[in-house]
Amino acid sequence: MTAELETTANNDRELVARTQEGDPSAFDELVVKYSPRLYGLIYHMTSNHEDTNDLLQEVFSKAYRSICNFRGTSSFYTWMHSIAVNMTINFLKKRNRRQHPSLNDPDSHIENDPDFIAATSNGDPTKEVSIHELQKKLNAAMMKLSHDHRIVVTMFDIQGIPHAEIAKILKVSEGTVRSRLFYAHRQLQNSLHEFRRK
């Protein structure tokens, strides 16, 4: 993963330089590259597709307006993720708590995932839990977490971002990331005890 991040950083540096020199097509390439990743980050925080779309547009608008000030002290990856995290958390703080979720349908490939099979059967072949039921329970459990805990779960568990990178994005220590994850997992266990793997 570290080597992959390094290759990404080198490619990004070139695209950022071209954007700063006035080539908007270079920024388009960055949008295409980062929109799926940042979509996931924002979506799992908001649980609402429409809010995610609006926020993602604003994140890239802000990044485009600020790119001339990007000096490269951190990687573009870290910089973009920091903008997305900050804007999402600010949005959540202002949003009405009773916002209805607007969840995306899970991809059909989930049915073949061993984790899904283990989570839904729980060793009991007679017990069947629908995908949507699992999705609802997972979403409800995530929404109970505070913003700080939900973001580390989103980045580590769902997106697979390493602890060290999460620490750079959130501007906290790696120890803080680990302790937040530990606490969040404990909270999720209480909410999802029926889906724990044995």
Binding site: D28, V31, V32, S35, P36, Y39, G40, Y43, H44, H49, T52, N53, L56, Q57, F60, S61, Y64, L103, N104, D105, P106, D107, H109, I110, D113, D115, F116, A118, A119, L134, Q135, L138, N139, M142, V153, D157, I158, Q159, L181, F182, H185, R186, L188, Q189, L192, F195, R196, R197, K198
Partner: protein
Amino acid sequence: MSHEPMHHVIRLKRYEQPPEGYFDDFLREFHHRQRAELLKPSISSLVMDRFSALLSEFRVPTMAFAGTAAVAVIASIAILSQPVPSGGPRTLAASYQQPPVTIPKMQPVSLRFDNPSERPPLFPPYYMLNARPANHESPLSF
């Protein structure tokens, strides 16, 4: 207690994806929003436009405001550059302080003379104004 099982369950959320074709349209919508932002005037330009319209209603030459603003700035600088007295209110009050005045306790005097020996003498009171100071001479004396 290991949290590995929870990690496996939460990871399933990555299968939640936006509708097909969403990211293909995303860039197009981003360009559309950028063009809309360029056409939208900024708040500062709106304020300047309103202010200019207000000026034209009063038929005041534009340069007059520039001169007035310059005078206001110079006056502000002149006022602000005045030296502030080093003494504060406490020091000024302290400089006016004098020893407190003590008023001797006055004993009440009775005006009744029951005993004849207590009566004051019958001589007329001697007023200091009748006596002339030794160095006083009539201005007309030669």
